[in-house]
Amino acid sequence: MREHDAYTALHAVFDPELDEPITDLGFVRSLTVDGTEVTVHLRLPTSFCSPNFAYLMASDAKDVLTALDGVSRVHVVLDDHHDSDLINRGLAADAGYRGTFGAEADQDLDALRLTFRRKAHTAAMERALTRLLRENRELTDDRLHDITLADLPDHRTTHALLRRRAALGLDTAPEAPVLVDDHGKPYPREEVPLRLRFARSVRISIDGNAHFCRDLLRTRYPESAADQTPRNQEVHAS
């Protein structure tokens, strides 16, 4: 096992709220491999970043590293968080979310994860459709009802949308409509402009949070700048 392989594996761990890999965000403070043991330190933009998200990312990191060939033990340590001790003890003991947080965690994390997968899908849908609108000036909002996946160009915005649809178990066939709800159902034609508008506010929200969290991480840990990979701006900042 080499550090490069372990780090590559961490690309699969996403901040659910920002919809970006923890590696690109600069959340991985250090990674060391000693024989078959891997130790990872994570850092976050504030001490008060959500403990449930923090736990989710740390436990996902542990899972992807444990699954690698040639790894016998994985230590994931969350630094400088108000729940660092609690989370680190829970991770070391594989106690799970409820086992870690006890009575405070009366729901599991699956519902939270699903919420953010849906938001990520909504944002990806808006990016793809807004790009299409910008490139085809004759196309108007109210005609988006009839746009199918086959109408989207072979572009990374489209690929990103397909990945997020697949993650939610939504139809990825070429004839499937693009503008759909969380369950893959198309909206009534008359609701299309409103739904696109709402999808836009979801996308603005996610993009804005991602910028803010990246900047705050650099304010808190200036050395993290070197570890951050620029966010893929699939649609121009507007």
């Binding site: 008060f48 939270l112 709402f198 836009r200 506010s201 910028h211």
Partner: protein
């Protein structure tokens, strides 16, 4: 008051604090982490010329506050929105006695809002009645993600909280400011979730709910609720300073708020002392939606007047000189449009 290019603006800073985060007031490591987090926000989003030292930031006192807001900051009236944070600070984070004494000295310039915590049940309810009388409360600031014993938060529609809101109605406390923004949140539920506001806004239509930080980082959830509930308002604390670091993002926030709400339900705040109002007021008056963002209409001077002060002034019955009001004819034109 602020004047630029012949246009004058009545300024209400709807969210300010007088805090004490010095080490001797910190109850534990969380008290230090909390102010450090604030200081990082301050460092990250302020222009370099407006940066404070860490020592100044821990505690600045009333004289400094008066200077920064009223002498330098163009503010006509400011409203204290204190966070208690008793689990982090021995004598609380927001300094009630100091802020209230300052308010009594300058009643024309300052309004003191207090807080309650429904987890104190009947004892807290009795306290609220005393506080309402003593402070002459028109509003409260609720920090729903505040820690108390084993609890890391409460919801506005919890049964006890509903009793508190009903008591607010009895006592004439009409303005309920709720912190829904970054920093602390309860563990198992998402404290940014604004769903609890939706429920109580529907049930208590005689109360106005000002969502501080306009729901950031969940702007879309906030907008979706506010578009349906006419008594839900957006407080711009923490959103304002993006005008400096990310003006395009700021344009999107304002553009979305104007689309989903309207120009009468958006309030300026500096969130002092996270940021000082002077530069925020100057930049907002100069601000315009970038031309290539064709999805948003340009901001008008009257919209800026409302956001910078007239909306909050109306909510708090603050007297505004006639010449600083928006011109009536234009208001009608906007409302017809």
């Amino acid at each position: 008051m602020y004047t630029k290019d012949g246009d004058s603006y009545f300024i209400v800073d709807a969210h300010v604090a007088l805090w004490d985060a010095r080490p001797e007031n910190q109850a534990n490591i969380h008290g230090k982490q909390f102010i450090d987090c604030f200081y990082d926000y301050h460092r990250n989003l302020s222009p370099e010329s407006e940066l404070w030292s860490y020592e100044e930031y821990l505690y600045y006192g009333g004289a400094r506050l008066m200077k920064d807001l009223f002498q330098d900051g163009y503010v006509d009236h400011a409203i204290f929105q204190p966070a208690h944070l008793g689990a982090f600070y021995k004598n609380g984070f927001g300094q009630t006695e100091e802020a209230f004494a300052l308010t009594k000295q300058h009643p024309d310039k300052l309004t003191y809002n207090h807080y309650f915590d429904p987890r104190l049940e009947q004892a807290g309810l009795d306290q609220l009645r005393c506080d309402a009388e003593r402070f002459g409360l028109k509003g409260v600031k609720l920090y729903t993600a505040e820690w108390r014993d084993d609890s890391r938060g409460y919801k506005l529609d919890d049964p006890w909280c509903r009793r508190y809101l009903e008591t607010c109605l009895d006592l004439g406390i009409r303005n309920i400011h709720i912190h829904k923004g970054p920093t602390i949140r309860p563990l198992d539920r998402d404290a940014f979730d604004v769903a609890d506001i939706d429920k109580v806004a529907t049930d208590y239509t005689d109360l106005d709910f000002v969502v501080e930080h306009c729901g950031l980082p969940r702007l879309e959830d906030f907008c979706w609720i506010a578009t349906q509930e006419p008594n839900v308002h957006a407080g711009l604390a923490v959103a304002m300073p993006f005008i400096h670091t990310r003006p395009r993002y700021f344009a999107q926030i304002i553009g979305e708020l104007l689309y989903w709400l309207d120009e009468d339900r958006i309030q300026f705040s500096s969130d002092y002392a996270l940021w000082t109002p002077k530069w925020l007021v100057e930049r907002f008056v100069d601000f315009q939606i970038p031309e290539d963002m064709t999805e948003y209409a340009p901001l008008t001077i009257d919209q800026k007047r409302k956001i910078l002060g007239l909306n909050a002034a109306a909510m708090y019955d603050l007297p505004v000189p006639e010449e600083l009001q928006v011109r009536r004819i234009e208001t009608q034109a906007v409302s017809v449009a």
